[in-house]
């Protein structure tokens, strides 16, 4: 889309007032900042990719500030509505902004993935606005905004509104939306790479489509970290048609100084497997003591807890070190952030909660404990150190096992070569679509044809079939069941003119309570009570935070675990609280079942495979790791980068088959499920499997060395076996719960009361069972299936894997375990073993009961 705003060629891009402000601070506008102003002048949608610290946010807002400044400075009389006929051209927008009608409209809308970031940006914008005396009103709207302020914003909006996708959806579902956004000029989407990657991005795309209808003249500005495929984001930014994909203009920011990345060469023995990184804690402590302030990133909460505990055990110097992860009580997290900002901490152990967002204080070192899993995530994390473009960020990567040494080295090379992980296009979720349709009905009665036309301009929904849209609409209206028994309970009804409206005001009220796409795992509040002597533990007690319900499901009272940096004893569950007391054990009895949370990216996996093929070419390969790989070459083989090694060997009266795809735990789990089914049919009597990040091990009662491996790994593995397994899998059930909540089938909040997670789960499972038997093609079943295939099962990756290794299998039939197989075999017992059906496990528990009964002495 272009909207020419004629301009004399000699007109400087930066108006004098702005040029003066830059000069006054000793700055010069950077080229990408000027390019953004130029894009605005051309009326072009634009994507700016730049590393952190490049003045990205200011670049995004400059055109809006300039336009608003001109509006303030040049009050002109009212002209006709057709802006192309406006005599001054350049000030066409400002002219309109002065009409009384337009005054009630937002000029620039800013969307951030984080509430805290929106608040921070608002604060940063105030400075130039005040210093230049622009008279621009800037306000935020988040979950914390008071009801009275929200109400006022609807009738008297600010010039620049900063908010989140969820709040935007709620605004658009209100009757005031049309007036509020009619004069919208610019939308700024911050951290776009993070916004588009999930269902929030789906919802946001639909809201953008609505804004394009309310304010066809508006322009979109995307701000993003450097990405491998900017076209993906450029498409997302622009309203699409059925023809050739349309792209936003691309502006690339100046690259920052190359980060200085070290991979820790531990003096200690590098473990064969595991994710604790415990061996390197003394060296990490030493690095922290040399830095001003460090963020120590880990991949999972369990790792954070463990690292934090270990660090304090060795913290002889009593360095102030804090812990920050998503399960901790929000108040506790705010305290840590404030302490960082005030420079009162030397290190913070954090999970992805600190990946994005505001800079808390003067961080000069980032430590990544455990492999980074992806190049892009690592760059983002490293960017948290030293937010100045001209100085290099410093990072220390600490591999927790031997494979991770390779992964860390590969990631460092990738950063040096300026590489990024690729992203895949998302197909918009139908559950999100359902939520959006309901929201649009809450705003105003809609015409189905018009709404469909609007929705397919959103990139993730570009290919949405009309029939699917109709079914989703029917689902929202009456449940859309084949058995049309709910017509009389309809949520949406058609007006005489055929427009869809909400049946009653309660429907809209409930939509507002339940909107959003972030479904939290079922969490229990962890409450610390005083030790329970004699009687039962007291209720009440101090709230430590929240943890997933499944974690407690595997515990029995008396088990201990680590949370918030302390060892706790699990007592009982009361309603939605997990009651704990202070533990006395030295070591927690319940380990976490989760290894690394993020699967290794495809790009990084490829680099690791290349390293293994030629370890002699790897710079700085630690001696321990080189030795290990040499041993493997001697005992078995080191496969080429495009080959997949498959080893078979007997061990402990069982026969193992180990393969090394390096495609991440999720894809390996799915592969394991399908392989065991196929092996079962071949009469190999498989007993179980364990999937690691790099390898997969299957074991059984028969020797598998004579199998036709080409046939075993043939891509038709993804045919019937997949269907059969999917229908039994609990993965689908888990996904269905999310889809049912997002799609509005299950409401989690009712006016005045909140249904607990405990109750929701059960009912979503029951609904799933009933739908599976009676309407397996229901719109939400389709949504759940789609999510499972793309998410938990990583099917695309598995399919790529099977095609990649076809005809490239290298088999070694060994008499005992190989060096490369040790890590995955060591995970047996630490990771859950798959392959057994619920029914068999229930049978096992029953058999134990029978045996106990038969052998009881009294």
């Amino acid at each position: 889309m272009t909207r020419p705003r004629p301009l004399a060629p000699d007109d400087p891009l930066l108006p004098p007032r702005f040029a003066g402000w830059f000069a006054g601070r000793g700055w010069a506008a950077r080229p990408h900042q000027l390019a953004m102003i130029e894009a605005a002048r051309d009326g072009a949608h634009v994507l700016l990719t730049a590393p952190t610290g490049g003045g990205k946010t200011l670049a995004g807002f400059l055109p809006s500030l300039i336009a608003l400044a001109e509006r303030g400075a040049v009050p002109l009389p009212l002209h006709g509505e057709d802006r192309t006929k406006s005599p001054t051209g350049r000030n066409a927008l400002s002219v309109e902004a002065w009409t009384p009608f337009q005054k009630r409209s937002i000029h620039t809308l800013y969307i951030s993935p984080l509430k805290a970031l929106a608040v921070d940006i608002a604060r940063n914008l105030e400075m130039p606005v005040a210093e230049m005396g622009l008279g621009v009103r800037i306000e935020t709207r988040t979950g914390d905004t008071s009801a009275s302020k929200r109400q006022r914003q609807k009738v008297d909006p600010p010039d620049i509104l900063l908010t989140t996708p969820e709040q935007l959806a709620l605004l658009l579902a209100s009757r005031e939306a049309a007036n509020l956004f009619r004069g919208l000029d610019t939308i700024v989407l911050d951290e776009l790479h993070a916004l588009v990657a999930n269902k929030r991005g789906d919802l946001l795309s639909l809201d953008l489509a609505r804004l394009a209808r309310l304010a066809p003249q508006h322009r979109r500005v995307g701000l993003s970290a450097t990405v491998a495929d900017p076209d993906h984001l450029r498409r997302y930014l622009v309203p699409q048609t059925t023809e050739e994909p349309r792209l936003a203009r691309l502006v690339t920011g100046q690259a920052g100084a190359q980060p200085q990345i070290d991979v820790l060469e531990s003096e200690a023995r590098i473990p064969w497997s595991g994710h604790t990184t415990r061996h390197a804690i003394p060296e990490i402590m030493a690095a922290i003591s040399r830095a001003r302030m460090a963020i120590v990133f880990v991949n999972t909460r369990a790792q954070a807890e463990l690292a934090f505990q270990e660090m304090w055990r060795l913290n002889d110097a009593n360095l102030p070190i804090a812990l920050h992860h998503g399960s901790l009580d929000a108040g506790q997290r705010r305290k840590v952030e404030a302490a960082m900002a005030a420079g009162r901490l030397r290190a913070v152990v954090a999970t992805s909660t600190l990946d994005l967002g505001i800079d808390w204080g003067d961080v000069d070192l980032v430590v990544q404990m455990g492999a980074p899993k992806g190049v892009s995530r690592m760059q983002q994390r490293i960017g948290r150190a030293n937010h100045r473009l001209d100085e290099p960020s410093k990072a220390l990567l600490v591999p927790s096992n031997r494979f991770e040494v390779l992964e860390c080295l590969a990631a460092r090379e990738a950063v040096a070569a300026g590489k990024q992980d690729g992203e895949t296009r998302r197909e918009g979720g139908l559950d999100v679509l359902a939520q959006h349709i309901l929201g649009m009905a809450c705003a105003d009665p809609f015409d189905a044809d018009e709404l469909y036309e609007e929705i397919v301009t959103a990139e993730p929904y570009r290919l949405l079939a009309r029939e699917t849209f109709e079914r989703t609409l029917a689902f929202v209206a009456t449940g859309g069941y084949a058995l049309r028994s709910y017509e009389r309970f309809a949520k949406l009804r058609q007006t005489a003119e055929g427009r869809w409206r909400v049946a009653n005001p309660m429907v809209a009220q409930r939509y507002r309570l339940n909107a959003g796409t972030i479904v939290e795992a079922q969490m229990l509040t962890v409450r610390l009570v005083r030790s329970a002597k004699g009687g039962r533990p007291l209720t009440g007690g101090r709230v430590l935070g929240k943890m997933e319900e499944w974690f407690f499901e595997q515990m029995t009272p008396g088990d201990s675990f680590v949370f918030g940096g302390q060892i706790l004893r699990f007592e009982t569950i009361v309603e939605t609280d997990a009651i704990v007391t202070r533990g006395t054990a030295d070591e927690p009895t319940v380990p976490s079942w989760q290894g690394g949370k993020f699967p290794l990216t495809t790009y990084l996996a490829q680099r690791v495979r290349e390293m293994i093929a030629h370890p002699e070419r790897v710079r700085n390969l630690p001696a321990q790791v080189a030795e290990w790989l040499n041993l493997q070459a001697w005992r078995s083989v080191l496969p080429a980068a495009d080959e997949m090694l498959v080893e078979t060997f007997p061990r402990n009266a069982k026969f193992h088959l180990v393969c090394y795809p390096f495609d991440g735990r999720l894809a390996h789990q799915t592969l394991g499920m399908l392989l065991t089914r196929r092996l079962e049919r071949m009469g190999m009597r498989p007993l179980g499997f364990v999937a690691g990040e790099y390898a997969l091990s299957v074991w059984g009662l028969r020797d598998m060395s004579r199998l036709d491996l080409g046939g075993l790994f043939a891509p038709d593995l993804l045919g019937d076996d997949l269907e059969e397994w999917l229908s039994e899998s609990i993965m689908l059930k888990r996904q269905f719960r999310n889809c049912a909540i997002i799609g509005g089938l299950i409401e989690t909040r009712f006016p005045g009361k909140e249904k607990t997670g405990r109750q929701i789960t059960f009912s979503s499972d029951l609904i799933y069972d009933v739908l599976k038997a009676h309407e397996p093609d229901h719109i939400l079943m389709r949504a759940a299936r789609h999510d499972a295939l793309t998410g938990l099962l990583d099917l695309q990756r598995l399919s790529d894997l099977l095609h990649r290794v076809r005809g490239r299998l290298v088999a070694r039939h060994l008499d005992r375990v190989s060096p490369l197989a040790v890590p995955v075999l060591l995970e047996i017992g630490k990771e859950p073993i798959f392959g057994a059906a619920d029914e068999d496990l229930l049978g096992e528990a029953a058999a134990e009961t029978l045996i106990a009964e038969a052998t009881r002495l009294v």
Binding site: G479, Y481, E553, Q554, F762, S763, L766, A773, L841, A846
Partner: protein, 231 residues
Amino acid sequence: MSEADGEQGLCVSGASMTADRSGALYWPDEGVLIAADLHLEKGSAYAARGQMLPPYDTQATLARLEDAVRRLRPAHVVLLGDTFHDGKAEDRLAPGDRARLEGLIAAAARWTFVLGNHDPAPPRGIGGETALELRIGPLTLRHEPRARPVQGEIAGHLHPAARVSVRGRSIRRRCFVTDGERLVLPAFGAYAGGLDVFDPALRDLFGRRFQALMLGERGVHAVASQRLARR
């Protein structure tokens, strides 16, 4: 073990019975089949309040009951209360489902609706007899279990469910609970939720040791209380 047939033998107050995989209890000596808490039309009750749960729950529940009746051929069917989710549920029955229920009742030699808290009034014009409780031999059949001590009681109302943790996986299923003196049936209805066996409401009914007979896909699995995962 008779697991292959999908049932599990048990004994309450001297009466030999089988826990059927459908969630019903069968007493061969008396030819009695007992099912509790069908909660028919729970889905439409939610739909009336704006949550469009799939409307197939009544169908699914009745199909399971039909299947159990066909396999076990009882002379007397007892529904142990909360057969209907609410007072108006009977009126919301789809014509087909109503006919199915009437057909089942007509085909049985004897059919008793024990009244529950969700359906305190007798059903109108469906057939069958109604009762507050029923005594058969050494056993008393009632909806809501009484406080201890009780001998020979068969009840529903509490929707028991138990959890076992096997090899790092936690599995939760509806179950019968018995200590040999009394028994609580699992809810039979497709949309009926579950209450953990260690919840005080259930725990207080039984001694320290009891058995949970957990419903699997293919059979019933008897698990001792000591083996269950506590909450």
